[in-house]
Subunit: 252 residues, 4 copies
């Protein structure tokens, strides 16, 4: 088990959960004050008590802890289930070079950056300066900035990158970028478009049809959680019914 | 664009799709014979004609091409949507050390191996020798064997590995392994159990409750594909309704 | 178009919706007072203004207006989608004789009573006196009491009715009533069991297997609503994920 | 229990299921010949043996037996789950006067006719003569023709009926009929449109917005069946993912 360093982020799991920088030294919560500096040199997995006597487990955070508990959300994010499908259906893994537009809150950006390390890269474009600045902060905060090249730039002029493994579009007017995406992809690479509305899917699919793409597929992912007790099991009463449609197409 | 080497596997996309070893030299299909040796030194993305004049695009295959077109399926596999969720919800990425039981056809095994490279490892256990042998072949064939440690061994005696990031169980009697999985996990690590039947979910959840786990969640993933034409859009007529339930739990 | 009588119930549709008895004479709302007595002799479909000048359409209510806007809900009801499937899958229609246990809030009871009129009957049993009294009020209020025989009685002793077209069970311990239901059904009649939990489904199915039933089917009904605007269409963000499982079986 | 008459239809349940006219006298099956005439005067529920010794239960068929086992299907039908929702959400019951276009195979027509008896009526329009003739046969065969007024007529010229409780449209170009449907409905009555494609839903909803309708709702119904055994329970592997969207709107 690794030891905690002053430069680490730690996940505190207790009555509430927190993801904090050890370098902060002291952390104030409703459940009392936690002396983070005392953690340095201890092993991940250790327990720490707050000034009010509440106990917290100290864990090394993973990407999802960051995405759920720390990332600041400005525009609507691509939810974790959809991020998972985008990665899983394209084979996204270490070494991949991915172009993304727009960056938004950088939720999908950092999710993908975590997968392409140590030798891939996410090139992400965001037109709006306020979103870009917020995204930049999130990317820096994620500790994954080394694998992200974030640009405050209009991609209607095209991408600078070539031979991308994947181009992901999550933006209004994605259909106007399909042709540019085709050019930026390497052969066998994937175009992925995330669309909240079916009309966007149609516009995009019509453009995809005009380019040299294969294996075009539009899908949606529904995740249904269950309540399981010793005596009874049933699906939860409500569920997320819709986030967005995901269209995949492969360049040949 | 990279050049094709004699040691490469290539994906041939045409009227039918094939994933073949260039070293094979010549490949016979219904659509004519393809001279693979002539591809060496050419760039991925090139077109090749069969003896019958059929054209094929020659692409570098990714993990999903392997999983769909090449992996020999003996026992029921964990489907790609479920693999995606398992990876996405646990943060599975390069460097992760994962324990898996049972190996089955090694579909999930190779899916995960592709994600943990270049410095992680999948330790996978399979009791049945026939499955183990088939899985071993698939793993070797995937080109990912360097990141897999496959064992023909009964895990009811426990795992040899410690401090795993994830333990994935896809086996009958998974509930008997929950306690051993807890021991093998590092703090903050994930237990993931894939269960076709709700009764298995219950048995597993009852055991999870007896160990020190947090964030227990049982979910199922439904993927709904769409038919999009220039004029009309609608979901496909039929869909996969069920593969298995996935239970996640985090060790503290 | 029919004229409104003093003995009618009317549906008032405006900024808020109400289902009221004309005999009440005057009705007080947040949107002003409505003089119901002035409606007598006018045609359904007329508009009426409140003392605050708010306009309301005056309609003849149907069964669903009653179920949604007027029925007092004590215990959990069987939702409209599930009522619809129960009726649709059994052929429930005028003349049917249906046995139901338990009555609960009488939501399903009145839904079914509306379908069996003018010459069928719902025989409904409720053990708990508080539920029975509330249900009785709802049944009377529905105007359908003529087609309902409600009893505050324990059905563990069996039903008094014979040759029923349908027996519907929505109660804890339904599995103990399966054999009695079989006896009370005419040949070709349907047993329908509504179960929130899968464990109840199993207990019931195990008992069904021991009796002479055919066409056993357990199903669940998911209803997904859409948001359609001039420009965009998409499913609503959230949906009801679960109410209950419905098991059908046919006596031979 | 009622006795079987020469004019009855009977449901034969055995290795295969049949719905036949007793008047036919003799019925030939793969499982041997069945002497139907011998059934007259016996009670429904009786067993009969074929010439090959196979046993069949003899039941009185209900509407669903007719719809599933006997109705000849020419054009695509509205499936039973959707029929159920249409009836359940509009309060369709005895005495209702319903206008339908087009008739198609008369599946929904006879489903509704069974619900409006003894004193309601279905007025159903079909433009195509081949469909009309087939539908007419099905309606006659159902024994419900008394409650159906079927017309081989183009409804683009409007309906002759007024004050309908429900107008149901299942036809290409339904959006062009919305205004006519509004006129034909009584106040408080329901327009129901069944649309396989989302583009049709949009066209219809745009027209609905221009008329005086309330409570506009577009929904789809997914039915998921389960496999329940003594030991294990799980949803079936595949399911129907899509039939059509149903739009409801209420005239004021």
């Amino acid at each position: 088990m690794e030891k905690i360093k002053i430069t680490d982020k730690v996940l505190l799991l207790g009555k509430s959960d927190f993801l904090v920088d050890v370098a902060k030294g002291v952390f104030h919560t409703n459940h009392g004050t936690i002396k983070l500096s005392s953690l340095v040199g201890k092993k991940f997995g250790v327990n720490i008590k707050s000034s009010k006597g509440e106990s917290f487990s100290v864990l090394r955070p993973n990407i999802n802890d960051f995405l759920e508990k720390r990332l600041a959300r400005l525009p609507q994010i691509v939810s974790l289930k959809d991020c998972s499908l985008i990665a899983g259906y394209t084979g996204l893994s270490s070494g991949y070079r991915v172009i993304e537009a727009g960056t938004g809150s950088a939720f999908l950006t950092t999710f993908m950056a975590n997968l392409v390390k140590p030798d891939g890269k996410i090139f992400t474009y965001e037109l709006r300066t306020d979103f870009f600045n917020a995204a930049k902060k999130n990317i820096d905060d994620s500790g994954l900035s080394q694998w992200v090249d974030a640009k405050n730039r209009d991609i209607s002029k095209g991408f600078r990158e070539k031979d991308a493994d994947i181009v992901v579009l999550d933006m209004i007017g994605a259909e106007k970028i399909v042709s540019k995406a085709h050019k930026a992809l390497k052969s066998g690479g994937f175009l992925v478009v995330y669309s909240p509305y079916i009309e966007q899917v149609k516009s995009v699919c019509n453009k995809i049809e005009m380019e040299n793409f294969l294996d075009v597929r539009t899908t949606e992912c529904l995740v249904r959680d269950y309540k399981i007790t010793r005596d009874f099991s049933r699906p939860n009463t409500t569920m997320l019914s819709h986030t967005g449609y995901i269209t995949f197409a492969r360049k040949i």
